[in-house]
């Protein structure tokens, strides 16, 4: 009896599984690789006064520049709804929008403004996000970037990096002998730039600490290259001990306790790690070739650097515990200035393809598959730096005879030029997430 029952059960189960499998499954393996269509409707202004910034325009530009979104041009919008009751999903659906963002600014009192924004899924006709952010009139850009961060995170699952900052160096030829170098701090989109250091001697290789509170850079202000640390909140500067010969390319470890740097005190450029507390110096590389441009892996376990030990510059990775050395790049005859995304999967670099002439371009290599993609076609790029969420690479390039800043989304879909600033712009460095 029991056995019969068991067999019966088994049969039932088998039947059930057969039935379950009988549910038709369609496999979709192809699609349109396109950015997500989103409409950021101009926000209503109920403050009674003109606002210094167009919040919706900033949000729209942020989203578009990430490469993940294709915002709808304002002139194509049939209407500018400000509230849910004015929103007709059908219209936006016909306009082939997947998402629509509406919002309005309301006064809070004094110079404070509250921006209420809502995100809707057009196809499912449901609200995905409804929040508000309160900022000072003068800091409306911060509010706009914050809104873009929230939308980005809700729609992609990735943390938005629109509230981060960049630093870069500008050089101006004032007269035949006189030059002016400036270290500038700006929004990620280049807006609101301000000078945090001015010098008549070159400033090189600015780099952020992982907590975003300070910078390290090389300055020639004493006539010789020396590494300085500058605190952003106070402007206080600190000279790290300098060594004979070349002192260059500092890089903060993720825990902020050490600085990787390049010194030529033992002959040719080698990579060292300086413990910032004990001031102890540890030599990392030992080769007659040039080893330079160190950068930490996000876990702090290894350093990646450029070396010409193979006859041409290529990027290597050295495991700090085991001292295992591994060459990462093989495509092209020049790969330098490697930077890893925070997930450690992608390596952005300056790349020159084999037989590709003299052009240097930004390339990104998937370390999982070793696939390498060239993202730019400008032919003259330098100093790539990656956004903390890995969505965009910023780099310096030449426009005519002038250096400018450009950026490209990691998938290469979107490229954009940073607002023009006076002088020759170079050496951009993207901040980590800021609090």
């Amino acid at each position: 009896m029991v056995i019969m029952k068991r067999i019966g059960m088994l049969l039932m189960l088998m039947l059930a599984s057969v039935m379950a499998r009988a549910e038709l499954v369609v496999e979709v393996t192809q699609g349109v690789e396109a950015p997500t269509a989103i409409a950021v409707v101009p926000f209503g202004n109920e403050t009674g006064k003109a606002l210094p910034e167009d919040v919706a325009a900033i949000v729209q530009q942020d989203l578009q520049r990430s490469g993940f979104f294709q915002p709808m041009a304002r002139e194509n919008m049939l209407g500018f709804p400000v509230q849910k009751s004015e929103l007709y999903f059908r219209d936006w659906r016909i306009a082939k929008m997947d998402y629509v963002v509406i919002g309005r600014s309301v006064p809070v009192g004094g110079d404070e403004i509250s921006v209420r924004f809502e995100l809707y899924d057009v196809l499912r006709e449901q609200s995905l996000l409804s929040e508000q952010v309160t900022t000072n009139r003068d800091n409306l850009r911060d509010g706009a970037h914050f809104i873009a961060d929230r939308l980005f995170e809700r729609l992609t699952g990735l943390k938005g990096a629109f509230s981060t900052r960049i630093v870069y160096v500008t050089a101006e030829q004032l007269s035949a002998q006189k030059q002016r170098f400036r270290l500038q701090l700006a929004d990620w989109d280049g807006a609101r730039a301000r000078t945090i250091l001015e010098s008549s001697e070159p400033i090189l290789s600015p780099v952020w600490s992982m907590d975003g509170s300070k910078l390290a850079y090389v300055s020639f202000e004493t006539g010789k290259p020396a590494i300085y640390v500058q605190y952003l909140a106070t402007g206080r500067r600190e000279r790290i001990q300098s060594f004979p010969g070349l002192n260059g390319a500092p890089a903060w470890s993720p825990d902020g306790n050490s600085l990787a740097l390049v010194l030529s005190r033992d002959g040719n450029p080698e990579i060292y790690v300086l413990d910032l507390q004990s001031r102890q110096l540890q030599r990392i590389t030992r080769h007659y070739g040039i080893d330079t441009e160190p950068s930490w892996s996000p876990d702090g376990q290894s350093l990646i650097f450029t070396s010409d030990r193979g006859g041409q510059p290529q990027i290597y990775r050295l495991d700090l515990a085991s001292r295992n050395l591994e060459r990462l790049t093989f495509e092209g005859n020049y790969n330098a200035r490697g930077r890893l995304t925070q997930d450690g999967r992608f390596l952005a670099m300056v790349h020159r393809s084999r037989g590709g002439g003299n052009g240097f371009d930004i390339a990104v290599q998937d370390l999982k598959t070793d696939r390498l993609d060239v993202l730019t076609r400008s032919g003259m790029v330098e100093s790539p730096s990656i956004a903390p969420n890995g969505s965009v690479v910023i780099y310096a390039t030449q426009e005519g005879t002038r250096g400018v800043l450009s950026a490209v989304s990691l998938d290469g879909r979107v490229q954009f030029r940073m607002p023009a600033v006076s002088g020759d712009v170079r050496e951009p460095a993207w901040s980590p997430y800021l609090r």
Partner: protein, 302 residues
């Protein structure tokens, strides 16, 4: 209990009687002596008649003697009479005493007998009662035993009956199950046969509709920038017979929000699959009411 409480008084009574008897018995033994002395007094008189005979003196003396003798005789006679009377009195007394004794004795005897009888009766009664109690007890025990026996028998009977019933029921069920299983098998065979036929007939249709849905979704799926090769999300679609999408939702997530969203949106973007409405309603119910779509990008850069 009641009977035992009589034992002490009974023994006391017996003791009192025995004491009285002992006391009286000495009396009877002491009075036996005087009765034997009586004949000796009579012999003493006969010795006086053979005395000396002298005329004058003698006569006087005889007369005197005679008088004295008469007196003596009288006195003796009186004495004798007195003695007889005393004796008689004594006898009477003894007799009365004896009679009283006898009577008392008889009475005592009667009493004793009565007591004895009473005791006997009591003993008998006690015995009877004891017997009765014993009998009652025995009877009760017997009744109890019988009742128990009956109960046991009944329980056994009930059990037997229940077992029989259960067996019968089990047998019935088994039969029923067998029948059902047969029916099921028959139904299943039939269904399978029908399904096989339907499948054969509908295979072409389903194949068509499958590639139709696939084509519709491939043209509507916008693969987001966060998508990577190897990501996989399964979307469940519920159709209305009109071919419209009733609802679509993530059945198995890829782990990436943007990717999942894009898959669901691909379905909603199509909104209506006109050719689904042309499907035979039975086929629709069976195969197309709910559909699983696996979104698995191939050939992405990463």
């Amino acid at each position: 209990m009641e009977i035992r409480s009589y034992i002490v008084p009974f023994l006391l009574a017996l003791g009192v009687h025995a004491l009285v008897l002992v006391l009286l018995s000495t009396h009877w033994i002491d009075h036996a002596e005087p009765r034997r002395q009586v004949p000796r007094h009579i012999e003493a008189q006969m010795i006086d008649l053979t005395a000396l005979a002298k005329r004058q003196a003698e006569q006087a003396r005889i007369a005197e003697e005679k008088v004295r003798q008469a007196e003596q005789v009288r006195q003796a006679e009186r004495k004798r009479q007195e003695q007889v009377a005393a004796e008689k009195r004594q006898q009477e007394l003894a007799r009365r005493q004896a009679e009283a004794d006898a009577r008392r004795k008889a009475q005592q005897e009667v009493e004793r007998k009565r007591q004895q009888e009473l005791a006997q009766q009591r003993a008998a009664e006690q015995k009877r009662q004891a017997e009765q109690a014993a009998r009652r007890k025995a009877e009760a025990a017997e009744r109890k035993r019988k009742a128990e026996e009956l109960a046991r028998r009944e329980a056994a009977e009930a059990r037997r009956k229940a077992e029989a019933a259960a067996q019968a029921e089990a047998e019935r069920k088994r039969q029923q199950q067998l029948a059902e299983a047969e029916l099921q098998q028959a139904l299943q065979r039939e269904r399978q046969a029908r399904e096989a036929a339907a499948r054969q007939a509908s295979q072409a249709v389903m194949g068509d509709i499958q590639s139709y849905i696939q084509a519709m979704l491939q043209s509507s799926w916008r693969i987001p920038s966060t998508a990577r090769n190897g990501m996989e999300a399964v979307v469940a679609i519920h159709f209305l017979p009109s071919g419209e999408v009733d609802q679509a939702y993530i059945d198995t997530s890829s782990g990436n929000a943007a990717f999942d969203n894009s898959a669901v949106q691909a379905v909603y973007r199509v909104q209506r699959f006109p050719r689904v409405a042309e499907i035979d309603p039975i086929l629709f119910e069976r195969r197309l009411r709910k559909l699983l779509v696996k979104f698995r990008p191939e050939g992405l850069r990463w």
